[in-house]
């Protein structure tokens, strides 16, 4: 039986810049930073979640030939690489303000939704990031009548 997700992967275009962002801005911590000779195996995790690692991969040889790596880089840069991360937060607006103060640009301001308050940004390379503050209590999909009453 599969027990849990332990690692997930995202392509970054510069691993030092990725650390500045994911650790320096978002507040993650380095889990593994290993020079394997042929590549730098770099993973980060949330301080409260040490058993889920986000692998920050630099596309290039030997995993990908130069032409393929170039294509991957171009797709990341136009936001079309398919990777991304959604975080859960206990304070969407506070985190938004703190990150804005740190110079992070957002693509969506905190917005109230039936599934919580969430907002969106990109990492420095083009990967989409969101963080969501779940509502208190169970998530209930509102009926059309309820939505119209709120509007």
């Amino acid at each position: 039986m599969l027990k849990k997700i332990s690692h997930t992967f995202i392509h970054v275009l510069d691993q030092d810049e990725a650390l500045d962002f994911y650790v320096g801005k978002l507040g993650m911590v380095v889990h593994t930073d290993a020079d394997l000779g042929v590549m730098r195996f770099l993973t980060v995790n949330l301080p409260d979640q040490p058993d889920v690692e986000l692998v920050l991969m630099l596309p290039g040889p030997p995993a990908y030939d130069d032409a393929t790596a170039t294509e991957i880089r171009e797709l990341v840069a136009k936001g079309a690489a398919g990777g991304g991360v959604i975080f859960e937060t206990d304070d969407c607006r506070g985190t938004y303000e703190r990150l804005r103060g740190a110079g992070v640009e957002f693509t969506q301001e905190p917005t109230e939704r039936f599934y919580g308050t969430d907002c969106a940004l990109r990492d420095p390379f083009g990967n989409p990031i969101r963080f969501t503050q779940p509502p208190e209590g169970p998530i209930v999909v509102p009926s059309a009548e309820e939505l119209q009453a709120q509007a």
């Binding site: 136009k78 936001g79 990109r122 009926s143």
Partner: protein, 134 residues
């Protein structure tokens, strides 16, 4: 050359994100070109080379997608929705909506009356997948 495309893509993504975020504001080619730090003369062509459609068309589809949600999920008058999503004339809104969606706003609203929940999904999903195709 490849780094040039990567750099162009990233600049164009910033302008598309700007349209996604600020769709209700008056956005024109010079304003978006400033976001990309390129000349207005090159901007539309580079955007199209990156995303396959003109920035004008992308912004129309973003605004129409927002209007579709407001039509489905609120009872607000079509005229208000038109201005809320960034159009500045009801005629342009209705014509653009009809051209993109295939029916006028009022008919679209009637079709979803009482069944708005069918499309109630997270905002990121709605933005990417409920935006009508070009």
């Amino acid at each position: 050359m490849s780094r040039t495309i990567e750099d162009r893509n990233h600049r164009m993504l910033r302008t598309r994100d700007t349209m996604d975020r600020a769709f209700a504001q008056p956005l024109d080619v010079p304003a978006l070109a400033r976001v990309a730090h390129i000349s207005p003369a090159h901007f539309s062509r580079q955007f199209r080379a990156t995303f396959g459609e003109t920035p004008h068309r992308y912004l129309q589809r973003r605004r129409v997608e927002r209007a579709m949600e407001l039509l489905r999920e609120t009872g607000r008058p079509v005229t208000e929705i038109c201005f809320d999503v960034g159009f500045n004339s009801l005629g342009t809104f209705t014509r653009t909506f009809r051209e993109i969606v295939g029916e006028p706003p009022s008919a679209y609203r009637r079709r979803f009356a009482g069944d708005g929940a069918a499309l109630r999904v997270p905002a990121c999903w709605a933005m990417a997948w409920l935006r009508p195709a070009g």
